[in-house]
């Protein structure tokens, strides 16, 4: 059977939901005639028409504001940010309006705001960021970061069906590099559930997004050296699967927290706090973080390569922790 890429999986997910539910529609910059900057919405204009596939002006605040209004009127909009970096332009709409609407007056806002995030493609400081933590910090939102084609499809469908705002961060490095055979049935991946990508006994690597592959490659390398990594893919950051994290840490007793986002205020810090609060007596070594440094994402390819966490970083830290 044919392999489906990560980007195609997202397209399929949205497509299937649009087929199933008339209230689902997409809006964003160049999503219609052009089919989206990364072709996530390719062919949708032809299939669903201009009422359900709406090209908008270059205004993220306007896109999300319109989506919120439509959601309040009973629709299920899927708003595309051409690059996740520009979601900051819609920050107020998302954090002050969408996130608090249910709390303040009981009106759920079932929108999905999705877009390509992440580095590794020499996109420079404005097209490579990982802005997830601005939203993880905002009660009322859900934040997901799929790493596989299966999850990309299952999570976009779950996000569209969710009664509250979901911020869906795609990783552009994975768009066409990750592919797999997908089941033909109508499946969803529940928001808030982690996946064990590799079972192991010596230490846990908790990660998400493109770093899942860095962790798995490092695990292969470390296996040769007799170090057995467990790799947990969080898939959702808000809510996140605390039970899965704690269970893994309690099993292996050592933990590396890995993400592409910068370190200060990154998800690793949050995880570290929870692990030391709730699994302190299971730790046989310090909690270690591997993240990007606290700088903008560099343009220069060698600098970007240095900036992003690498397999060799995981191998080095794992060896140190193993010896601890």
């Amino acid at each position: 059977m044919a392999l489906t890429t990560y980007v195609e999986a997202i397209r399929q997910g949205i497509w299937e939901e649009m087929e199933k539910d008339e209230s689902v529609f997409v809006l964003g910059e160049d999503v219609g005639i052009y089919g989206g900057a990364f072709k996530v919405t390719a062919g949708m204009l032809e299939r669903f028409g201009e009422w359900r596939v709406i090209d908008t002006p270059i205004s993220e605040s306007g896109i999300v504001g319109a989506a919120i209004g439509a959601a309040l009127m009973g629709m299920r909009p899927v708003a595309e940010m051409q690059f996740a970096d520009f979601i900051s332009c819609a920050f107020d709409q998302i954090t002050n309006f969408a996130a608090k609407s249910r709390y303040r007056w009981g009106a759920g806002v079932p929108i999905v705001v999705r877009g390509p995030s992440g580095g590794g493609v020499h996109g420079g400081p404005f097209h490579s960021q990982n802005p997830e933590m601005y939203f993880v910090h905002t009660p009322g939102l859900k934040v997901v970061c799929p790493s596989t084609a299966y999850d990309a499809k299952g999570l976009i469908k779950a996000a569209i069906r969710d009664p509250d705002p979901v911020i869906y961060f795609e990783h552009k490095f994975l768009y066409r590099r990750v592919k797999e055979e997908l089941p033909s049935d109508d499946f969803v991946v529940p928001i808030g559930k982690a996946a064990i990508r590799r079972k192991g006994s010596d230490m846990s690597v908790i990660t998400y997004g493109a770093m899942v592959y860095v962790a798995l490659d490092a695990a292969k390398e470390l296996e040769k050296q007799g170090i057995d990594l467990e790799v947990i893919d969080l898939r959702s950051l808000l809510p996140f699967d605390k039970e899965a994290v704690l269970e893994s840490v309690k099993k292996t007793n050592k933990v590396i927290l890995l993400h592409e986002d910068t370190q200060i205020g990154g998800f690793a810090g949050e995880l570290a706090a929870i692990i030391s609060e709730e699994a302190f007596e299971y730790l046989d070594g310090p909690i270690r973080r591997i993240t990007a440094p606290n700088t903008p994402v560099p343009y220069s390819p060698p600098l970007e390569e240095f900036f992003l966490p690498k397999v060799s970083d995981v191998v080095r830290v794992a060896r140190e922790l193993y010896a601890y």
Partner: protein
């Protein structure tokens, strides 16, 4: 000029702390580089520590009698400019260090910066180094501190608690970084001694080696004396050795006629070159030769691996008024009687004058002890870990022995060999001793 921090040196590989017995300079006094600054007593040796720099003793941070971890800053040598340098004293620094670590400052990158983070993690993990500085010191704290000095992890401490294991039993046996007790260390310890430990109804809260809590209370008048560092080390080492090795002792009788004759013959020559000849070098030489032929007796057991040592370094137990020390004759198999005698004279003298260096007590591979000095028949010595055998020499005494159905008078010594039955079988131990016996009884007298 910058200040120089004086640290507690590591006086041997398995040494983790040392006691400052005496400050030879006072605060404010001038000192030259390499001039003795203080005296220490560690598990293994007592010695003077020279100043690492010339200057003025700006600060003394550890009191006499206090025991601190190695690498702890014990004093600061300044340039004598009178600059108080309050901000820069180690006290201040140590207090601030953990804060810096947690602050928002470190720009953590994947290479350089992560290293910082790593040392940070370590700093946080290693309170013992900072504690003795900032915390007010009082001698009684020593007991409690020795417990804290054992490095483990939250997990290890929980497992220890759940299994009633006293972590001090694993002291010095950790396989983690800096001897930290790891998960696998404690799990295998519990597995080995598990049943015994969990079955004991009331596990002692004090280390089993600690003599502080006698099994039965004596109600009369007593005098309580704190153990010296050396006595404490001996006490811990002896119990640890008993617990580690499967001790078996074998005994041999050796006719010393020929070696005594040889000794008598050589004595004048030796005396001329200022060397006192005793019987000990004969036994050292015989043992060295036998060790070459039975390398297992010169080995160690490391987990499930036997470690054969290529060098034959024989330790000689020297009893002192204040304890006992085992200086080492390095490469004993390469020395003749004169060489061995010279070394023995020198080591013995320096042991009694507290002039031994860490080198002198390091890397022994076999030990000879002398329980017969005061007329004792023979003893059953305890192995000096991580070695696997120790030979005891009784006193030489004329005895009636039967030779070719006739009774003769011969100078006889009893030798004992305590060996670790985990790696040495009785047959091998006896062959080893028979080898020594044969050499001594057939010593060339010419």
């Amino acid at each position: 000029m910058a200040e120089t921090k004086v640290i507690m040196p590591q006086m041997g590989e398995s040494i983790f702390e040392g006691t400052i017995t005496k400050w030879l300079k006072k605060k404010g006094e001038r000192i030259e580089r390499d001039e003795p600054l203080f005296e220490i007593s560690t598990d293994k040796i007592d010695t003077e520590i020279p100043s690492p720099a010339s200057g003025v003793v700006q600060d003394i941070l550890v009191k006499e009698g206090q025991t601190v971890q190695i690498n702890t800053v014990v004093a600061v040598i300044g340039d004598g400019s009178g600059k108080p340098a309050a901000k820069e004293t180690p006290r201040e620094e140590q207090k601030q260090a953990p804060k810096e670590v947690k602050g928002p400052a470190p720009v953590a990158g994947p290479t350089e910066e992560t290293k910082k983070e790593e040392t940070a993690a370590r700093t946080e993990q290693a309170p013992p180094q900072t504690v003795p500085q900032g915390a007010p010191q009082s001698p009684p704290q020593k007991e409690a501190a020795s417990d804290e000095d054992i490095r483990s992890s939250p997990l290890v401490r929980r497992i220890a608690k759940e299994n009633n294991v006293d972590l001090s039993a694993l002291s010095g046996k950790g396989t983690g970084i800096d001897g930290r007790i790891t998960k696998s260390d404690i799990l295998s310890y519990i597995e080995q001694s598990g049943k015994k430990e969990t079955a004991s109804p009331a596990p002692p809260s004090k280390p089993s080696t600690a003599p502080a809590a006698p099994p039965m209370k004596f109600t009369g008048d007593v005098e309580r004396v704190q153990l010296t560092a050396m006595r404490k080390a001996i006490s811990e080492h002896m119990v640890m050795s008993r617990r580690t090795s499967a001790h078996v002792t074998t005994f041999f009788e050796v006719d010393c006629s020929r070696i005594l004759k040889t000794k008598e013959k050589l004595q004048p020559d030796f005396e001329q070159s200022g060397v006192r000849l005793t019987v000990t070098p004969f036994f050292v030489q015989a043992a060295a030769n036998a060790l070459k032929r039975f390398p297992i007796v010169n080995s160690s057991l490391d987990g499930d691996t036997i470690v054969y040592k290529r060098a034959i370094n024989i330790g000689i137990a020297v009893s002192l008024e204040w304890g006992l020390i085992v200086p080492i004759i390095k490469n004993a198999d390469e020395k003749n009687l004169l060489g061995l005698s010279k070394i023995l004279n020198d080591l013995g003298e320096r042991a009694r004058n507290k002039k031994l260096t860490p080198e002198d007590v390091k890397d022994g591979t076999f030990t000879i002890t002398n329980p017969g000095q005061y007329g004792g028949l023979i003893g059953t010595p305890i192995i000096n870990q991580p070695q696997v055998a120790i030979m005891g020499m009784g006193g030489i005494k004329k005895r009636a022995v039967v030779i070719d159905d006739a009774i003769a008078i011969r100078p006889i010594i009893l030798l004992s060999l305590s060996f670790d039955h985990r790696v040495i079988d009785g047959a091998v131990a006896d062959q080893f001793m028979a080898d020594i016996q044969k050499q001594l009884e057939n010593w060339p007298t010419s």
